[in-house]
């Protein structure tokens, strides 16, 4: 029998469509798998790097060490070593056995964060599989989470954030169907497991509060009685733990965990990050929003939808000082689940609409949809992988150096987004609050880190470092947690008098700055008592090594003389610093007091310069002396 021409054309069209679909699926899978490979290489690169990669990582290691010694990291910041943590304990407690076995190291914290993201991706895939009943979409949904620029950034860091996201996601996945379980014993067991995971999320990082709200809102919508009963139980356990830790730490838990986290809010930072988040994840966000709208008007609200709304609302906190793109990770996980369910359901033609006044108005559309289900499903076979392909292309990020990534980046025409600073291309660009990380540290970076450690080892005194790694490697006390002191100071909860006294007395061998995130009076004390001796570049950041200046009597005398040079005679003092260091200190001193260098002066055997301020010119000379260097400040330069 000769086939009908029309049927044959239709069959050929379907065949072509199926081939295009297969190719697109393969491309989407390949692209997202390539993102995963980049992520794994990056994670391994970070695990091999023995110093702080992102600001503050080392303090999480210090918290872990303190727990391993049976001590709380929530302590009085006003006494030596002026250190306290501002994070809940669970992530650090989990890592305690690693400290016992391997000693202080960064790799296991980064490994834990990385594994947490893999578990989250698996949970996302599992949720999509359970709700969508499709083979390929769950894999792509899980990979989409790992492909996000934001997840890539923070995933393999020694930070608790992604462990919180893991607990949040697991909790939501466990509790998503708890209200429909008819067997009472099984329902209670599921509820206990889900809420225990939720508690774990909250005690990993405070930001999980949005997921806690989402879960109890969901339970309230489904059955207020159950929500209240379990809510009271949950609050009793969480609150009891809170009160116990607060009692055990003499109130330092409250001050460091809650009060210290009330930071300045920058609305523009949130708006910038939100726009960037939308521009990178637009397809997933649009599908998620549609799915929430669908459930709101045409079905029952699921926990996934309520979680998504709460997580997106919670991104508003990314405008806080010290917050950043990581605050979007929970919203990304929720988006991957919702968009995955949306797409899987579309591929199976499994959309259902509860009859309501709204659906009745669109009865004709529904009838058309029901009549054309095979065509819609066939179209979705092309559209769905194309959506993941678009997403995979919009979040491209890639190291631009190395045996494989270098040639690959060249081939793709991708150049570093950070110029000479470090080799990393990021399609996200940069906005305020976006972490400038993502490159793989080099051997040069590692060498630079050890060079800084050598500076600390050169003197038996403790060092005050803005990052903990140098002190840990030099077997010294970790002194200060700068951002914590800054937060507490800005909330009138930290009196820096003792720390300032220690700085002025040169109790610290060196001070290592990276961003100078200390309270202003502490910085002022450092500027007065120390001077910038050298800069060592590591990871694209300049680490300033500040050495102690002359003793206090000399500093006070010099400062008094510079405040009113016309009042007295020339000032002469012997400095206990060698020539070059004395020059650096003097230049720092004069600049700090607003004196501008005019030019060199001729003074045989000495280094002399003229400095000027408001029509007054002075001579600042340093001459070799035994021991040290002789300083002269005189108003006779002209």
């Amino acid at each position: 029998m000769v086939p009908q021409p029309a049927l044959s054309t239709q069959a050929a069209r379907l065949d072509l469509g199926a081939w295009i679909s297969r190719i697109l699926w393969a491309l989407a899978l390949l692209l997202l798998a390539a993102h995963l490979i980049v992520y794994v290489v990056y994670a391994i690169g970070l695990m091999r790097f023995p110093f702080d990669y992102d600001q503050g990582e080392g303090f999480e290691l210090v918290d872990t060490i303190l727990f391993s010694q049976g001590e709380w990291p929530y302590r009085d910041n006003e006494v030596y070593p002026f250190y306290a943590s501002n994070y809940p304990p669970l992530f650090h407690v989990i890592l305690v056995p690693f400290v016992w076995v391997f000693g202080p190291a960064y790799w296991y914290g980064r490994l834990a964060g990385f594994l947490g993201t893999l578990i989250t991706a698996t949970a996302i895939g599992w949720a999509v599989q359970r709700e969508g009943r499709h083979r390929a979409v769950p894999i792509l949904a899980g990979l989409a989470f790992l492909a996000s620029n934001y997840v890539y950034h923070v995933g393999p860091l020694f930070r608790q954030h992604m462990t919180m996201v893991m607990f949040e996601t697991l909790s939501v996945v466990v509790l998503a169907h708890v209200t429909t379980i008819t067997d009472t014993r099984r329902r209670r067991r599921t509820m206990i497991i889900g809420l225990a995971l939720l508690l774990a999320a909250g005690y990993t990082k405070q930001l999980a509060v949005a997921t806690v709200i989402a879960v109890f809102l969901f339970l309230f919508v489904r059955n207020p009685r159950r929500s209240v009963i379990w809510g009271v139980g949950f609050a009793a356990v969480a609150g009891g733990l809170f009160l116990w830790i607060n009692w055990a730490t003499g109130g330092e838990w409250w001050a460091n965990i809650i009060a210290a986290n009330v930071n300045t809010y920058f609305p523009s930072q949130f708006v910038g990050l939100f726009r960037q988040w939308v521009s990178l994840h637009h397809v997933l966000i649009a599908l998620s929003a549609l799915f929430v709208a669908y459930e709101l008007y045409f079905a029952r609200l699921s926990l996934y939808s309520i979680w998504w709304v709460a997580a997106v609302a919670n991104t508003a906190l990314s405008g806080k000082w010290g917050a950043g793109d990581s605050y979007f990770a929970t919203a990304i996980a929720a988006s991957c689940i919702l968009s995955g369910i949306f797409l899987a359901r579309t591929l199976r033609g499994a959309w259902t609409f509860t009859p309501t006044p709204i659906t009745r108005r669109f009865a004709a559309v529904q009838r058309w949809g029901a009549a054309h289900t095979p065509q819609i499903v066939a179209g979705a076979g092309v559209l769905v992988p194309a959506i993941y392909l678009v997403y995979g292309l919009s979040v491209i990020h890639l190291p631009t150096e190395g045996a494989i990534f270098g040639p690959l980046a060249d081939r793709l025409g991708l150049e570093s987004s950070y110029g000479e600073r470090y080799a990393f291309y990021d399609a996200a660009g940069w906005v305020e609050g976006y972490a400038t990380i993502g490159h793989i540290p080099t051997q040069q970076d590692i060498d630079a880190g050890w060079e800084i450690v050598d500076r600390l080892r050169a003197d038996p005194r403790p060092a005050m470092s803005e990052e903990a790694a140098f002190s840990l490697h030099a077997d010294k006390d970790v002194v200060t947690n700068p951002t914590q002191l800054k937060n507490l100071y800005e909330n009138d909860l930290f009196d820096p008098a003792n720390l300032i006294a220690a700085i002025r007395a040169h109790d610290f061998s060196v001070i290592v700055f990276r961003a100078q995130f200390y309270p202003p009076p502490v910085l002022d004390a450092v500027y007065e008592a120390y001077y910038p001796d050298e800069v060592i570049e590591m990871n694209g950041f300049n680490y300033e090594i500040w050495q102690p200046g002359p003793d206090r009597a000399v500093r006070d005398a010099a400062a008094a003389w510079l405040a009113d040079p016309a009042a007295g005679e020339a000032l002469t003092h012997t400095l206990d610093l060698p020539g070059e260091q004395a020059q650096r200190w003097l230049a720092h001193l004069l600049a700090r007091h607003g004196w501008e260098r005019v030019g060199p002066l001729n003074q045989p055997g000495c280094t002399a310069d003229a400095y000027q301020q408001a029509q007054i010119t002075i001579r600042a000379a340093l001459c070799p002396s035994d021991p040290g260097t002789a300083l002269t400040l005189a108003q006779d330069a002209g």
Binding site: R222, P224, L296, Y297, L301
Partner: protein
């Protein structure tokens, strides 16, 4: 109240609509009141603008739920 806390009670679309609408109105009022109470803060700021947008969205979403009546939310 006893009915709300019964073991088989579920929120309806209409009740959810009321809650969303009321929350939206409350949010808008708070944002406007903040402006009236602290007029010297330098104008209607970005947070207030965002608050009003979210409030309006919540109000509209809630109102649209009201016709759905006793369907379970």
């Amino acid at each position: 109240m006893r009915r709300i806390f019964s073991p088989d009670f579920t929120l309806t679309k209409r009740q959810l609509g009321f809650i969303l609408s009321a929350s939206g109105v409350l949010l808008i009022v708070i944002m406007l009141a903040a402006e009236l109470l602290d007029a010297q803060s330098g104008g209607f700021g970005m947070v207030q603008q965002l608050g009003v947008v979210v409030g309006v969205l919540s109000l509209v979403a809630g109102l649209a739920l009201l016709p759905l009546g006793s369907q379970p939310a």
